[in-house]
Symmetry: C2
Subunit: 476 residues, 2 copies
């Protein structure tokens, strides 16, 4: 079936590097690697390579550079912008890091951990917990996403507010360059000012500058206090005021502040088994407040009570509940994290992963809803996300009864409306998911020529043969 | 006097861009810009340009690229590695940002501030405080250093433990490229995954990739609680244990943890007016503990008391005092911050700005002292610094009565001993000061060929004419 542009001789040479057993040519076995979660991209590829060592990755990329063969690195295949999907012409070989999944070293005193690029995020959590430590990156897909993918997309998730995204959570990297050369930058230092910041260049490069085969991650003490509350509010304005209060009161103990609309609560209680509305009556907006404290459990309790009390008195909080057990805490988080999945049974969904300066969220949300509904009467805006980071997943479910394909066909048109407002507010069209294929041309259209040119100069300097994940982030 | 390689015709063309008034040719006026604080480097230059706008900086760099004229950007001239000093042959023109020192915008709701590159750090502090906010970067030289210099060296200082260094404190940049093109990356977003991380490439590049003319800085709420304590300890091992306890107890409320040796306390009390030993008896080692809390003053008090009590009980703390007023807090910090200056009256001082993984500080300190004293009997090690970051200013005062010039003549030899141990422990030879001229050749000797090559490729891609601060970080 695969009308590959790659000769079988060439494929044999790649297979010889990892051994036939780890060079998959079976179309059925390759198939799941050709599609991504949203079904927006369907690629083709004649071969999936599963190297078992940094040296094998190096040999693959060296051969790729010499023969001009394109390589698409893939980890958990959970990306949302098509960055991990091969192109449609079958000229890309997929390189999977799934066999390179060891925790190489863990240092609970220095609070660092060295892992292979193919480590699954949940396994990293587990290993840290076994040593009484915590790795804070937390995502809906943590059971299948892998560290090299998290790094390549500079993943964010729900704990960015207090701990930062992957760029802040990584101290050092090991990268195989497109030429096959290995850069060992596995440093474990908090401070190191010795030359250009190569690490942060590879982080967020979406696999276009090299393959991340190892990383030094930062660990943190497990918090002693943890409180989760769910509050019903009248408006996004009130949510912003409450967020500012929470920031002032809790500082970095504020580990989550998530905004959700009524419709999102309806979708999750309707479609996600076990999810129920924690409050008795309906409210237009909700926030999930997460507080973690290092000194004692009492501090977290005190902070949460004070915040909600203040919120009631100021008329910001209409009703609220504090989770009284870890099970309840997880249930509240589960509602938030399943909000995107809960849209699926409601038909098509046009998605945006945007950010604006935090203070401008209410105005942006109001303007965007007005514009979207004007363009498409009946569209159901289900916008939720990390309010404290200014990052809103501005998702839109199709009008009830509309044709799904026709609705999805208006993706670009609706994107243009929402992104136009985002840019007007000095925001970003990709807050945490990256560029991949989905936003590549749009990026080029909104950024200055000099910015695109600098990016291209870096790409050429690092990947002169143009073999690393071509067509992602930048045009091939 | 200046035997410049630059023709007066060419100098006239540069002067025309900023106007004669702001194009200094007077040798006496240029002189202070040719030397740096430690007296290690003495450069030469026929002209000091003081542009008043981004457009003038752009015109200067455009002309420089066209004519192959080297430009050395200079801000507060407080750098410690010769990165801001022109070369000795008089072929560099100095570009000072001192006239571009405006606070462009301040947003206390979004907690951001946009400043010119030439803003003095203390003025940034002041402007933030006027709006009830705080900018946490704190350095001994804050009265004269300027933001573009802080960014270009990825400055650290005393608050890195809780707030990070400049890379963590900056959201966006405006940079004039060596070609004169202007990159406007003045974004104010906490999350923005749209392409390669250009910002972090310019931060820490020591003015070799472009001139930073503007920056978006992160602001923070002013803490409600602030406690400073000074404790006498038996050993560096005890200091490490106390640091670990403090980290667990305070989390990110631990805003400073500075290690100091007895000899440093002796030097400061002897030479710095007004400094007195806060404790009654002498101890081999000292730590300064700084705690800032966002929720209340009581939390900081409670944390500090609990930490010291625990420390007494465990036999870690021999004696301690908690500052009872802001004046006392400042006095304790002043002792720490004047420790480098206090070495001057003691004769020559060979300095190192190194970091090692935090847990390895005690072993590194013991090994380094042994090796240094073996090589130079009577050498007085005055090693102090940011223990929580693993960053030690490993300074060595000359033996009493030794010849200063002869002592300083052994700088490289002693460097080699200390840096050898640093590298053995996986550390950095420049934790916060950068590379400049001082450590350029050493960097090339300790880093892999591929790492140096990647840096050179970036340099060439951004500065094809090689005019930006040549000879700094990388060989010209």
């Amino acid at each position: 079936m695969s009308s590959s542009a790659l000769s079988s001789d060439l494929l044999d040479r790649f297979a010889a590097i990892v051994g036939e057993k780890h060079a998959v040519r079976d179309a059925a076995e390759i198939a799941p690697h050709l599609v991504e979660n949203r079904g927006l991209y369907h690629g083709a590829s004649p071969m999936l390579l599963k190297p078992g060592s940094v040296e094998e990755v190096s040999a693959i990329l060296k051969l790729a550079s010499e023969t001009g063969t394109a390589i698409v690195p893939q980890t958990g295949n959970t990306g949302l912008v098509g960055g991990q999907t091969p192109r449609e012409d079958g000229s890309d070989i997929i390189l999977s890091l799934e066999r390179m999944n060891r925790v190489r070293d863990i240092d609970p005193v220095g609070n660092t951990m060295i892992v292979d690029g193919g480590c699954i995020l949940a396994d990293v959590h587990k290993a840290a917990a076994e040593h009484g430590r915590m790795f804070p990156l937390s995502l809906g897909s943590e059971g299948s996403c892998r560290i090299a993918g998290n790094l390549s997309t500079n993943a964010g998730g729900t704990a960015v507010l207090a701990y930062g995204n992957m760029r802040q959570l990584c101290l050092g990297l090991e990268v195989v360059l497109p030429t096959g050369e290995i850069w060992n930058g596995l440093r474990r230092l908090k401070k190191d000012n010795t030359g250009y910041d190569l690490r942060d260049l590879f982080i967020g490069a979406e696999g276009t500058l090299g393959v991340i085969t190892g990383a030094v991650l930062k660990l943190f003490p497990q918090p002693l206090g943890h409180q989760v509350a769910f509050a019903g509010l009248q408006s996004v304005d009130d949510a912003l005021t409450l967020f500012k209060n929470a920031s002032s009161l809790c500082g970095t103990a504020l580990t989550g502040f998530e905004l959700m609309p009524r419709i999102g609560v309806e979708f999750t209680t309707r479609h996600i088994p076990g999810v129920r509305d924690p409050l008795d009556t309906a409210h237009p907006w909700y926030v999930l407040i997460d507080i973690s404290t290092s000194d004692s459990a009492e501090t977290a309790e005190r902070m949460m009570s004070a915040l909600l009390e203040q919120g009631y008195e100021a008329g910001l909080v209409q009703d609220a509940t504090i989770a009284s057990s870890e099970t309840q805490q997880k249930a509240i988080w589960h509602m938030r994290e399943s909000m995107s999945d809960a849209q699926k049974p409601e038909g098509g969904s046009i998605k945006h992963d945007v950010s604006v300066p935090v203070a401008q969220i209410p105005q942006f949300m109001a303007e965007a809803e007005k514009a979207v509904v004007a363009a498409m009467p009946g569209a159901r805006v289900c916008a939720f996300g990390h309010m404290g980071d200014g990052n809103i997943h501005y998702n839109i479910s199709q009008p009830v009864g509309a044709d799904k394909a026709e609705f999805i066909g208006r993706w670009r048109e609706i994107n243009k409306i929402v992104h136009g407002l985002v840019l007007h507010h000095g925001g970003s069209i990709s807050a945490e998911h990256g560029i991949g294929q989905l936003k590549r041309d749009e990026l080029a259209s909104i950024r200055s020529d000099i910015e695109m040119d600098l990016m291209r100069r870096i790409k050429t300097a690092f990947d002169p043969a143009g073999i690393m994940n071509p067509g992602k982030v930048l045009k091939a």
